[in-house]
Symmetry: C2
Subunit: 281 residues, 2 copies
Amino acid sequence: MVQILDGKITATKILEGLKQKTSTLSKKPYLAVILANDDDSSKIYVNSKEKTSNSIGFKSCVYRFDKNITQGELIKLIHELNQNPDINGVLVQLPLYSHLDENQILNLIDPKKDVDGFNPINIGKLNSNDNPYAVCCTPKGIVNLLRAYNIELAGKHAVVVGRSNIVGKPLCSLLTNEDATVTLAHSKTKNLKAITKTADILISATGTTNLITSDMVKKGAVVVDVGIVRMPNGKIKGDVDFEKVKNIASFITPVPGGVGPMTIASLMENTFELYLKQNGI
Amino acid sequence: MVQILDGKITATKILEGLKQKTSTLSKKPYLAVILANDDDSSKIYVNSKEKTSNSIGFKSCVYRFDKNITQGELIKLIHELNQNPDINGVLVQLPLYSHLDENQILNLIDPKKDVDGFNPINIGKLNSNDNPYAVCCTPKGIVNLLRAYNIELAGKHAVVVGRSNIVGKPLCSLLTNEDATVTLAHSKTKNLKAITKTADILISATGTTNLITSDMVKKGAVVVDVGIVRMPNGKIKGDVDFEKVKNIASFITPVPGGVGPMTIASLMENTFELYLKQNGI
């Protein structure tokens, strides 16, 4: 019988813990979010981050820009936020308007305030298992979800499908640090099924609906679905053919209600941890 | 019939190309090397780097320290080398004396002079495929050796055994950037043979002699041996049981004469490339 990896319940517990700890602090953790695109999904994500942040007693502010924002103005804002001692975490919602240089902006965020963990210093430190200031939220959320269900990672073969810089690659680093044997597959992989079939833990993060079908999954595997695609009817679907794969997997995440809530919970954990470090706690 | 991946011949060609290009420059590429341990192998490596550097017309200097060197003195030297406009590449030979903090030292090297590519910024940029200033020498040498023999990487399944920060992990990043499907195996991997058997390209970098036996290799695989162990009789051995595996592989590196010379050639390429960037060429 498959067990659902419930990200909503797990995230709620994490957030309650943070709320409790925050209630004892006189100065509160403070998250700054920059939204410089007019994509509807990004607006929803940013609103959700702001709402969650406030619900657990953090301070937050969102800088919303129309498409007249220039690279120079954004750089100036990042410098101000880096220098502002009240701000603990700086998050730039991706993607940015296409005329802006994302990598340049991400590289300017002070690694000690880089709450998303996307600065190359944090990516490099994660890769070398050398104490990054923050670990990217989605990979961290996935590992926390697996841990919450006592799923062992050491010695397990984890297959990650999708090599984005914000999920697939840092997830491989994190899983390797957890002593898993890790395979990274992607759009250029030949015979994907032969690879996914060997996975004890299969994680798909491509945004291609129904990419992972039941014949691609080993009996008893743990299946984690990071895909989020909004269908024309408004429903959200993942990468995994949930209805069929759930008959083969031992554990599986739903979409929605799996990795999504864990990502936001990790963002709040990161904000809190950066707050502690910056205040020498 | 197996083909030998001859690192000596390939490296010699690369070095001759660099020598030719360097002869046309009025100001020469300049490599600074720091040796702060009394390990015999390290001394041999450093001498070889100095000799190669001089043989192709580069300038070089080696800072040799006895065990009284302090972390503070080393930090001061790194800062001086970072600021010296004549120096293009700074290399710290690892390991350092055990009383020194390696990570702190590596993190202080200016990423633009980080000829070994070990600074977290360069590790992070390599991981994100975002133009690192320099790519770690052994991984770069391996990919250059495979390229020299027209071995395709895109879509191939590469299995890397050994997760060191200086070879295994950056090699995985580089191979992923080359569109290979990459698996990273290590000491905690269960059933290593089942994993290595699936490799089109098998790269072992553990320093455990005879770890890779013929029953662990798929017929026709490309086998790259990064191991270097000096035996009591003075001979150097790799990770791979060469005599038996060569009957199964399509291509194989010898030890010595495989990856070793390529690593030094990559160091010289990196020094040259940093020189060009720093001089705006």
